[in-house]
Symmetry: C2
Subunit: 185 residues, 2 copies
């Protein structure tokens, strides 16, 4: 149930409403933990009931009012406790790998177009990551100018970049294999 903790981290980085959190989960933190606004609103309600977070009604002139959440002491304690628990191995759900194996019972070449589309999506994501890195983590500053939070966000982003690069290389391998199997010898 790490959605709780992902939300707590996001709120510690910056308090905000459910709507704002949902948008952060569409970029930034959501690159590593996906969530919809439905999940977020539900968890916020529960954590508020448990006293993990505080609410503040914020009236806005130019748009609907919102509820701004921030982390309370019990929430912060829960996050610290979770941080000291063992790291669970990720449960993998890689649909494409299943489809590739399924292609053995169909026409491998038929997958090519979908894989190409999928590859473009990953290329786009890499572009976004690199743009984010340029924006947030390079500049005129000397090394050591970033605080711990920024350093840690950067190392996570570097992981995302490495993942996308590795994925693009692998997808080229996949495409070559599919084309080879699809064409007659």
């Amino acid at each position: 149930m790490a959605l709780d903790h992902a939300i707590l981290v996001s709120l510690l980085e910056k308090p905000g409403s459910g709507y704002e959190l949902a948008r952060r989960f569409d970029r930034s933190i959501g690159y590593f933990w996906a969530a919809t606004h439905q999940q977020i609103y539900r968890v916020l309600k529960r954590m508020e009931g448990d006293g993990w977070i505080d609410v503040r009604e914020v009236a806005q002139d130019d748009r609907p009012d919102k509820k701004e959440y921030s982390v309370a002491a019990p929430g912060r304690a829960a996050l610290t406790a979770w941080l000291h628990e063992p790291i669970e191995p990720e449960t993998v759900r890689h649909e494409l790998a299943v489809k590739i194996r399924a292609a053995a019972f169909d026409d491998p070449a038929a997958l090519v177009h979908e894989v190409e589309r999928y590859r473009r999506a990953h290329a786009d994501r890499l572009t976004r990551y690199l743009a984010g890195e340029r924006r947030d983590f390079t500049g005129p500053e000397a090394p050591g100018t970033l605080d711990a939070g920024q350093e840690l966000q950067h190392v996570v982003l570097r992981g995302g970049i490495a993942y996308e690069r590795m994925t693009l290389d692998w997808l080229d391998d996949v495409l070559a294999t599919l084309r080879r199997l699809g064409s007659p010898r």
Copy 2:
């Protein structure tokens, strides 16, 4: 709901019982789509009810009897239909990335031991992948000896190997960053 399809692929590769499928999901196909025996038995029951798979009671002398499942025509049709659907972008759930960002609000160095343990788990997995590759995909055969199914299994496995290598490199980066932030300047 790709568990259905992962099971169908596994049964097409080789018919088997729920128990045998559960063991396959602990290695091989389960490296890319995790599932417990509970999920598997439930889905098998549903797919049998829908006529996607056939059952055959197999009496065994030296152990309890089992039910061997194999894919029926409607199941195969469902798999083909699924294969031609668009590939969904994976939904990422990367607990470690969340923990790293959470570490900004705690002691970054406290994560080091857990990350080291996590790194060892990935190193072990890479070792298993490489052993599997040596066992199944290298040998005296000339290129072109493998059938399409084996080629496709191999390219999926190469993806797993690339993922683990990338992850190990990234974890070294993570460890260096955590140590740097934990030690006084």
